[in-house]
């Protein structure tokens, strides 16, 4: 029985980390999505997204597979390259790519039946 108390404490900590990561990752995904949409609507510059994303990426890397984060970093980098080209197809593709990766990260956090198989 003496092992039960530390085990329960560790389980509570683990569950807390899981809940926190779920809320935190969703929140950051939403923030990034909003800033990318703002960029698409030309209210912010891609450099602003890049700076914000670099900060958020570090924190997100604690909970999310780094592959996804690296992909977003590449796409955000592409946004800065295509900064001066208005309405280029690459810009639309990059925007959609970022959205889809963020959506995928959010889906991975969800507790859904298809995650079991």
């Amino acid at each position: 029985m003496k092992r039960l108390i530390p085990a329960v404490i560790i389980l509570v900590l683990t569950v807390s980390v899981c809940v926190f990561s779920h809320i935190y990752v969703n929140d950051i995904c939403d923030q990034t999505l909003t800033s990318v949409e703002n960029y698409y609507n030309k209210s912010i510059s891609p450099h602003q997204i890049e700076t914000t994303w670099e900060e958020q990426k570090e924190k997100m890397s604690l909970f999310v597979n780094h592959d996804f984060l690296d992909k977003i970093s590449i796409y955000v980098g592409q946004l800065t390259i295509n900064e001066n080209i208005d309405n280029s197809p690459e810009r639309d593709i990059t925007y959609k790519n970022i959205k889809s990766v963020l959506k995928l990260i959010k889906e991975k956090q969800k507790f859904e039946l298809h995650s079991f198989y």
Binding site: A7, V8, I10, L11, S61, F63, V64, N65, H66
Partner: protein, 225 residues
């Protein structure tokens, strides 16, 4: 590279804590569920080590959930005979009064060669000498020999011997172990007296053991006894 080193240290600490929480057991003594959890922990710990894209925290969370489940299961098996039977199975009597229970052997999928091998590992060479042989849930064979095949014990021949006393190390590598002296209720002065009588100095002794009955063994540094 440095991240791999840090990840390894973190996961090593996690696995050590996890195994410590699960309790000490040799692999051969593990119950089936304990073995599964141990194998799973080693597998899970290896994933973030091999793939640096995987967050370490996911591996740690999985390991601790497994440990928690293992502890819960071990408590349930301790409390409930039914759970114990379901999860661990039950011991099977393979030999009764020198006769092999062939049905039991088929049930546990054990061959005669396996049985003979296990008996030999218990220093039993004649099946007819066995009163009972029980196959335990961890795969070990417990053997009770017939009375006429058992070795004679001290109580059989009614010998009067002094009580057993646990020898404790009182000097280790030239240093006095005060904890052992306290446990034996022996003063340093008494210890020095014994050493002096044997014409040794504390620094010259590699190991000295002493028991409650005053029996001692001295191993000199750089020599034998």
């Amino acid at each position: 590279m440095i991240s791999t080193v840090i990840r390894t240290i973190v996961l090593y600490a996690t696995v050590t804590i996890a195994i410590r929480l699960m309790g000490k057991r040799q692999i051969g003594d593990m119950q089936p569920n304990e073995l599964v959890v141990t194998l799973l922990i080693s597998e899970i710990a290896a994933i973030p080590l091999q793939d640096s894209d995987q967050p370490v925290i996911i591996g740690i969370a999985a390991i601790f959930v497994l440990v928690f489940l293992e502890i819960i299961i071990s408590i349930l098996t301790l409390k409930s005979f039914f759970v114990r039977k379901i999860l661990n199975g039950k011991s099977v009597v393979i030999i009764k009064n020198g006769i092999i229970d062939q049905k039991a052997m088929r049930d546990v999928r054990m061959t005669v060669v396996d049985l003979i091998e296990l008996l030999r590992s218990k220093d039993v060479f004649k099946i007819s000498d066995v009163a009972f042989a029980v196959l335990e849930v961890n795969g070990n064979l417990s053997v009770l020999l017939k009375k006429d095949a058992q070795t004679v014990t001290i109580s059989d021949i009614e010998l009067k011997l002094p009580d057993d006393a646990l020898p404790l190390p009182v000097i280790s590598d030239g240093k006095i172990v005060d904890e052992s002296l306290k446990a034996l209720q022996v003063s340093r002065q008494k210890l020095f007296k014994i050493i002096k009588h044997k014409k040794y100095g504390v620094k010259q002794i590699f190991l000295m053991t002493l028991d409650r009955n005053g029996n001692h063994t001295i191993i000199e540094k750089g020599g034998a006894n």
